[in-house]
Symmetry: C2
Subunit: 404 residues, 2 copies
Amino acid sequence: MSPNTQERATLGQNRENLRQHNLSTVLRLLHEAGSVPRSHLTSITGLNRSTISDLVGELVSLGLAVESEAVTGGGVGRPSLVVAPSQNVVAFSVNPDIDATTVGLVGFDGKVLQRMRYPTKIQPTAAESLQVAAKLIANLRSKLAPGTLIAGIGIAVPGQIRVSEGVVRYAPHLNWVEEPVAAMLAQQTGLPTWVDNDATAACTAERRFGAGIGTNNLVYIHAGSGGIGGGVVVNGRQMRGATGYAGEVGHIQISSSKIKDYSGLEGTLEALVKRDDLLELFKIDNATDEELEIEIIKNKDPKAHKVLMQQIADTGRAIGVLATIFNPQSVVLGGFLGTLFRFDGEHMIQSTRQSSLKSAQDGLLIKASQLGTTAVIVGAAELPFSAVLANPAQAKLTKVATKR
Amino acid sequence: MSPNTQERATLGQNRENLRQHNLSTVLRLLHEAGSVPRSHLTSITGLNRSTISDLVGELVSLGLAVESEAVTGGGVGRPSLVVAPSQNVVAFSVNPDIDATTVGLVGFDGKVLQRMRYPTKIQPTAAESLQVAAKLIANLRSKLAPGTLIAGIGIAVPGQIRVSEGVVRYAPHLNWVEEPVAAMLAQQTGLPTWVDNDATAACTAERRFGAGIGTNNLVYIHAGSGGIGGGVVVNGRQMRGATGYAGEVGHIQISSSKIKDYSGLEGTLEALVKRDDLLELFKIDNATDEELEIEIIKNKDPKAHKVLMQQIADTGRAIGVLATIFNPQSVVLGGFLGTLFRFDGEHMIQSTRQSSLKSAQDGLLIKASQLGTTAVIVGAAELPFSAVLANPAQAKLTKVATKR
DNA sequence: TGTCATTTGTTGTTTAGAACAACAATAGGC
DNA sequence: GCCTATTGTTGTTCTAAACAACAAATGACA
C-alpha cells in the first residue's frame, strides 16, 4: 500500500513492465491534461497509432478513461477522437487539523467535487479525528452514483510521516506520536488508505494542477498557523530523502538570530516569519488567511509595517538560499507567505537577489499559490490516484454497488 | 553529445527502449561492482536466465564486457560464470586548474591507470589549457594497446557549466567566460567530449566508487583553493536544477555576518570557511591539502586554533542546513573540509546538531572523501562512460588501430 | 459539388525480445 | 558413486509493439 511504487528500483524490465509503463504514461497524460486527442497521445509518447488505440481501449475497458466524439475544426484530415479521464473515478481526502477535520471528494481530473469541514475539540487524538473523517466519508460515499470507482483515501497531516508505512511519526501541533493512521482509517472504511505530509501534498497539487504545472524543478513553501513546511520537486520527482524527512524548508537557518522556532532551532525561517506575530500586532486572534490579508492591506501602524517588511525580507532571504541550492524553475508560496508576496513582491525579490547567486536568479519565477486552501485536499487525493496511475491494470478500485 | 541522455522524458517505451534499458542495466551493474557472477545478474535484475545469457553475450560481442571462468566454492550447484567490465575500455579526463592542467586515463572499472599534471602559466586561457590537454592525451593515446576502445573525454572545470551544450558559462578562478570547451577539445582530438563542473564530477565519483557507494541521497561538499563547491544526489540522480546551476552549496547563507564570499554574497559558507585564512595564519602560501593537514595537527597557536574551531563549527552549521533540507544518507566532505572533519569531527557534528532537525540527524553519516584528489579525475571519466552506459549498443567507441 | 490531398482510426500480419521448458553440466553432501 | 541443487544452453512459445493496407472523415480547391 505504498504510493511510491515508482520509487522501486527499476532494474530489469520485461514485457509486463513495458505494458504497465505505457498504460501508466497514457493515463498520467490524461490525468494531468484533462483531455487529449488520440493523435496527440501518439506524437507525445512516440508510440504507434495502433498501439495507442490498444492502450486507450484497455484504459476504457478498465473504466479509467472515456472516449468522446471527435472534435472537428482542427485542420485537414480525419478528426481525432478525444480521450478524457473517466468522471466515474474519485478519491477521498482527509486533512486533520488542530480544531477541525476536513474531508473532500476529488475527481480523477483533480477537481474538488465536495468538501466538508467538521469542527472537533482542540488537539483531537488520531482516533477522534479519524472517526469524524470516517463518518464524513460514509456520508459522501452514500451519495455516490452507482458504478463510481473509488481509488481510495489520502490523508494529509501537518507533521512528519513515514509514507511507506502509513504512519504519522510526529505531528507536533496535533500532538500525535507514532500513529498508524492509514491502517486505522482503512480498517474503518474498507478503502485503501495512504498518508503524507500536508505541505508535500499541497506541493504535488500545485505542480500538477496549479502554479507549478509543467515544472520539473520546483520549491513550494507553505506557512500556516502551525509553522512553515514545504516540498521540493527535483528532476520531476518529489524529494523525500533517505528516511522521508527531506524538504523541511521552514527549518533552514538563515540568520544568526537567537529566536527559536517550534522545533527549537535558532534563526530559522520559521522562527523569523511568524503569522502569529502579525496577528498579535493587529490584535486579532484566529483569522483566516483572507481576513489577515485584508488586515495587512488596510494597516496604517508603522510598527506593524516594519515587522511586515522584515518578514518579507526574511522570506526573500530563505528563497534566495533555496534558489541557490535547487536552481528551480519556480518558487511557489502557499498560505500566509502568498499574502506577504502579494503585499510587496518587489521587496521580497530584492531580498532574494541579495542572498542568491545570479545564475540561480535567471528566469526564476516567484509565485503565490494558485490552488489556495484546496491544494491540500487535491494533493491528498493524489495519493490514491498515484497508485492507480502507477499500475492502471492492477489498480484495486472499489466499485459503488448498483442500486437494486 | 549530452551525457544526460537519461534526463530525456522517458514517455513511450517500445521494444527497442526495453532492450536498451536492460543492456544498460546489466552494464551499469558491471561498471559499478567491478565483476559479478551471472547468477547474481539474474536475481538482481529479475530477468530470466536465458535473457541474461543473451544480454551478456551482446555486451561481450560489443567488447564492453568479458566472461571469465566460473569460480568454484560458492555452494552446491554448477558454479556461475563471472562477468566483468572489459579492461579494454578507457576514457580520458581533463582537469584544467589555475596553474596546471591534469590529464588522466581511467579504466572502465573506475580505476585511474595514468595521471599527468602539466604546469601552465597562471590563469591560462581555455585554448592554452586545452592545447596542453590535447598534447598529453595524444601522448597517452600513443601508448595504448591496439584494440583498446576509447569512450571519449570528460573535462571537469571549476565553474558553472551548461552540460548539454558542452560550454563553460563562467569559471571565475580561470577567468573563462562562455568557452565551448567540449567542441574545442573534440576538434583537436577527434574524440567525443563532455564537460561538467569539477565538484559535480567528484560527487559522482564518490557516489559510484568512494564514500557514497550505494547511497541514493547524498550531499557532497568540496573545498579547494577556489572556494567551496558541491554536488547533491537526490533519488539516485544528480540534482542539476532548471538551468543546470543547482547544488551551489558553498553559497548558502548561514549567518548574518557581513563577510562576503568570492561571489559577493554575505555570510555564506564560502565566506566563513576559507582555506586561505588558515594558510595566512600559518604564514605559508601555497600548500597541498596534505601539507596543510600536517600544519593543522602540529599547530600550537591558540589564535589559529580558535579560527580553526570556528571554521569547523560553521561547516557543521552548513551541514545542518543541508541535512534538514535534503535528509541525505550521508554527507561527504572533500578537500580541505575533509581535513577539518578529521581534525575534530566531534565538534563539527555538535554544531550540525544545533542547526538541523532531529529527524534529519537520525542515521546521518558525515564522512571525509575516500577518493581524495583522484575523485575529480574519476568523475570526469564518468561523463564519457555514462554515454556508453546509457546506450551500450549504439555507443560510438574509438578503437585504437592494430599495429601493422 | 466533386475531386484530391491529408490525417486518423481499424484490422490483420509481422517481428523482436523476453519467458519458458527441457536438458546438459558441474558442484557439494552423504 | 549416487543424489540433489544450481547454473548454462538451446529451441520454442508468447506478447506487445510496429507495420502495412485500407477505410473514414476532413479541408482545400477547381
